[in-house]
């Protein structure tokens, strides 16, 4: 009698399989987007796994709130899969496609934008089009905020739903900086007088690349060129002013450009430690909430450049093989509702600007938006000034690889 092994196995299986297998979700037919009631009916009871960057507790809380709302209203369960990097969600979908999983995939929704969207769209990894048939899409300000349908100049084609506006803004410690710079050139001049007191995250980090794009947009001869795909023959000439700018900036950067912070969030810590005097972020309300969280001294304030700053839109998209497409559509629709957008813009909750058109939404909702108190260090949508369009992604690929050659190898 192999009693010993039998006992060992009992012990092992007790431990390993108490909670058992959770079978893969069965195939979910694509929802009929022309029949919203049918979508709602199909969504009911589904569980949506939403892969979203999880680096900010406030945002995680907002997502949890939205999940509770759609649970109550539509019977859709939402689970956030907290990511350190959106690429992990893309990786998941790619690995499933590689394994032949065309149905019942793990990812139901991704918080996405820009280059990740362009890549997924190019590789046919997205479900849709579905966005324009959702009831709340009619409130979206597609003319006043053209980035809600053009993500980094790439047409969204109804494959991703806008859920928040982002615009680059800078922040400085007013106890240390008397007059903040009002343009990229001005920033360079200021830095030459205060060497080591500014830096940007290392590209291809999203924030680092965004800073380069901001500079590029300001220094380029004709910004309109950037809206079209880069033309290899012409590109070096177009980009020359940027390299010229960076050549001057490099020696006066923090650590003389030998080291760079990893990401945008790191700039806050460096500000608090008095390592730098000026930082920047993509969230207008970030500074106010960071002060409330003791991350920044209460003397920090936001500012923007006179000529405007780069702006774009955050989206949610549904992978081609999602298990709960109807549920994801319903969730995305809720995220575009005035109720959800209002809460999102509230700086106490998150402070991310709405994608909606104030003229289109019901008057009662408009009044609530107007009544929002944005906090001391937060600029209002009006104060944010001009929104500069994102360049076509092909420019960024060129800039990032050239940057890597010039500054990515310091030794």
């Amino acid at each position: 009698m192999p009693r010993l092994m039998a006992r060992l196995i009992v012990v092992a299986t007790l431990g390993a399989s108490l909670t058992g297998f959770s079978p893969l979700a069965s195939a979910d037919p694509a929802p009929d987007m022309h029949n919203w009631d049918a979508v709602l009916k199909q969504a009911k009871g589904q569980t949506v796994y939403w892969y979203a960057w999880g680096g900010e507790p406030r945002i995680n809380d907002y997502i949890a709130w939205a999940g509770n709302q759609v649970q109550e209203k539509y019977g859709v369960t939402v689970k956030q899969v907290k990511l350190a990097d959106t690429a992990d969600a893309v990786s998941k979908v790619v690995s499933e496609k590689a394994a032949g999983v065309t149905d019942g995939g793990a990812v139901d929704m991704i918080w996405i934008n820009g280059e990740n969207f362009a890549a997924m769209k190019r590789n046919d990894l997205l479900f849709g089009p579905w966005v324009e048939q959702t009831p709340n899409f009619k409130y979206v300000d597609v003319t006043g905020k053209p980035t809600t349908i053009n993500d980094f100049t790439v047409p969204t084609d109804g494959l991703e739903a806008p859920w928040g506006m982002a615009q680059l803004s800078f922040f400085d410690d007013t106890s240390r900086v008397k007059t903040p710079p009002h343009s990229a050139q001005d920033l360079l001049a200021w830095l030459q007088n205060h060497p080591g007191r500014f830096t940007y995250p290392q590209p291809p980090d999203y924030m680092g690349s965004s800073f380069l794009k901001q500079v590029l947009t300001e220094v380029v001869d004709d910004p309109a060129v950037l809206q079209k795909p880069a033309d290899a023959a012409d590109a070096q000439k177009v980009l020359a002013p940027l390299w010229n700018y960076l050549a001057k900036m490099q020696p006066v950067l923090w650590r003389e450009g030998k080291a760079y912070p990893a990401n945008g969030a790191a700039l806050r810590a460096m500000m608090a430690d008095n390592e730098i005097d000026i930082g920047f972020s993509f969230s207008a309300a970030e500074v106010s909430s960071a002060i409330a969280n003791f991350e920044l001294p209460d003397t920090v304030r936001s500012f923007v450049f006179d000529g405007g700053t780069l702006g774009n839109t955050n989206f949610v998209a549904i992978p081609f093989n999602a298990s709960a497409k109807a549920g994801a559509v319903v969730l995305a629709d809720f995220l575009m509702s005035p109720q959800a957008q209002l809460r999102k813009q509230n700086p106490e909750i998150w402070g991310s600007f709405t994608v909606l058109d104030m003229a289109k939404i019901p008057a009662a909702d408009r009044a609530k938006f107007d009544a929002l108190d944005l906090g001391v260090a937060t600029l209002s949508p009006a104060e944010m000034g001009n929104v500069l369009p994102e360049p076509h992604p092909s420019w960024m690929e060129l800039v990032e690889s050239e940057w890597q050659k010039r500054y990515g190898v310091a030794q």
């Binding site: 999880g54 291809p204 923090w254 030998k258 008095n274």
Partner: protein, 578 residues
């Protein structure tokens, strides 16, 4: 008449349960199967094959693209040099400390602080150390307070070009691990008596130890050393915090390429992952060659008879090195604990101006699920691992273990030597292909790949060192082999078995990528939450989760120490181990 191999008159008496017989095979399969599948998922794309991304035919384009990457050679060199340096330093610190202090109170003290240090996850330790040595960190704050500076100096300490900060971070975490492994090897090598013989022959402590004990224990700690070497040369999380970024070590760059929005970069990343594997293999070969060389000269040195009796400074150096390594981790985690309750904390204040429990109070209610998942996954993986490891070792004791059988068990250690990043994508495809992805079973199996080798490493020495006469006596008293195992062997090994489980639990808790990717995010653990939140770079959140990530393994080590103490509180013979 001769009857070799007939099995008569031996411990097994032909009574080996069939399933016990298959334990080593099953174990090797569970280790190597996923690895081979994972590696395949990396090799194919490296040569252009990944239909999901439109890669349908073989090509070397990925390699050409890889070699055209600026600074590739520097990245490779950085990985190799920091990995090698960290291993050499860790090894010498541990050997020197053991040589200089074995059998003293300082040694016993170090044994006692070992558990808390081992409990600190690598990434948390790295954050802690970064906060110590950064220009705005504690050390510099102390200087600045005296010097009256109000801004940190603009110098590079962490992320230095040579990777010395990375080496320091690795050494601080690898020293305790190697120390633990050495502790397991010492009794088996009869180190205490060997040391005494050398002393009575007039040798200094350190020289005597290096000449007599080291050659005996080295074969036993060789594998852990290789594991340290492989880990150090391919580490990602620690490197992202402490290593230079212009350029970064190879493993970090691979991760960036894998995360690039341009999905075609994955082909190049796969090729780079193979280069990473090559770096590790080359380092192991290099170490192996160096070891032969040292052994050759060492023999001559030992026979030359030098006594080296005046060794005060060497002993001090040994103690100091161990103290610094342990101190960095403990001070680092203390730093994280302070951050977790810090209000605004201005440079150069040594302590925050305000204190607050706000963030703890906000996080605590949300922790339940993460903690439970962590315990379920870790508990299941550790249970499976301990059952398999004990079954392998028990079988080895009971039966003729022919050479090939034992040789195959080497394969158990392969996961320790393979860079995780080189097979993670393939592993994900493999589990998806089996339809097992997203299940608790697959997450546990993926954890098992990393947990089991460490459990084996921790338990093999004590298990094999148990006086075989206990088993013989018990058998001759008429007890069946099974009864001997349950009533004698297992109780006698309670302490090392629980310690090995604690080590394994710690390893499981540290797993981020396998949990997230294989579990498809269905199983949020303390660690997946911690890594996601670390992306927000708020030091208070990092502090909270660093502390939490330390508490769980520490509880594991605590239980591993308390249970035998309570169980055998009236058995003096078991108190100091057997």
């Amino acid at each position: 008449m001769a009857m070799p191999g007939a099995g008569y008159g031996r411990c097994d008496g032909g009574y080996v349960p069939k399933l016990l017989k298959y334990a080593p095979g099953l174990t090797v399969f569970l280790m190597v199967g996923p690895l081979v599948a994972g590696l395949l998922g990396t090799v194919l794309p490296a040569f252009g094959y990944l239909p999901a991304l439109g890669g349908g035919q073989w090509s070397l384009a990925a390699w050409q693209e890889l070699f055209a990457q600026p600074g590739l050679l520097i990245s490779v060199r950085l990985s190799a040099t920091t990995g090698l340096l960290a291993t050499v330093i860790s090894f010498f610190v541990v050997m020197l400390f053991c040589a200089a202090w074995q059998g003293t109170r300082a040694f016993a003290l170090m044994q006692r602080v070992l558990a808390p240090i081992l409990s600190v996850p690598h990434a948390a330790a790295a954050f802690g150390i970064a906060f110590l040595i950064a220009p705005s960190g504690w050390v510099m704050r102390a200087v600045a307070s005296v010097g009256g500076w109000d801004r940190p100096p603009d110098i590079v300490t962490v992320q230095d070009g040579w990777g010395l900060a990375l080496v320091a971070g690795l050494v601080a975490k690898e020293v305790p691990f190697l120390f633990l492994m050495t502790l397991g090897a010492l009794p088996q090598a009869d180190a205490e008596r060997t040391r005494h013989v050398a002393l009575t022959l007039g040798y200094g402590r350190v020289a005597g130890w290096f000449k007599t004990v080291l050659p005996r224990i080295y074969p036993q700690i060789k594998l852990p050393v290789f594991a340290v070497l492989a880990y150090s040369a391919s580490v990602v999380d620690v490197a992202m915090i402490l290593a230079p970024t212009t350029p970064a070590p190879l493993a970090v760059r691979i991760l960036h390429w894998l995360s690039d929005p341009d999905l075609s970069m994955r082909f190049m990343a796969s090729a780079a992952a193979l280069v990473q594997l090559g770096v590790v293999v080359a380092l192991i070969v290099l170490w192996w060659g160096g070891e032969k060389l040292v052994a050759r000269f060492g023999r001559g040195w030992a026979e030359a008879g030098g006594r080296y009796r005046y060794e005060g400074s060497v002993r001090t150096a040994g103690a100091l090195a161990a103290l610094i390594a342990a101190g960095m981790v403990l001070l680092g985690i203390a730093g994280l604990a302070v951050w977790s309750i810090a209000g605004f904390w201005r440079f150069p204040d040594m302590l925050p101006g305000q204190w607050t429990l706000k963030l703890w109070l906000r996080e605590l209610p949300a922790l339940g699920d993460g903690v439970i998942n962590t315990i379920i996954i870790g508990g299941a993986a550790v249970l499976l691992a301990i059952v398999l490891v004990v079954a392998c070792l028990e079988r080895e004791q009971r039966t003729t273990v022919s050479r090939p059988g034992r040789g195959a068990l080497w394969l158990i250690y392969v996961p320790l030597l393979m860079p995780q990043i080189s097979f993670m994508f393939g592993l994900q495809v493999f589990f998806t292909f089996l339809g097992l992805e997203r299940t608790l079973v697959s997450v546990v199996l993926a954890h098992l790949v990393f947990v089991l080798p460490y459990v084996f490493l921790s338990l093999a020495d004590p298990f094999r060192a148990l006086d075989p006469r206990y088993r013989q006596t018990a058998l001759c008293l008429g007890a069946s082999p099974d009864r001997v195992f349950w009533r004698v062997i297992l109780p006698l090994l309670t302490r090392p078995v629980l310690a090995a489980m604690a080590v394994g639990f710690g390893v499981s808790i540290g797993q981020y990528l396998p949990t997230l990717l294989i579990g498809a995010g269905r199983f949020a653990t303390i660690t997946t939450d911690a890594v996601a939140l670390a992306a927000g770079n708020d030091r208070r959140m990092i502090g909270i989760y660093g502390v939490l990530q330390t508490i769980l393994p520490f509880a594991g080590f605590g239980i591993a120490m308390l249970v035998p103490a309570i169980l055998f509180r009236r058995r003096r013979g078991l108190r100091s181990g057997t």
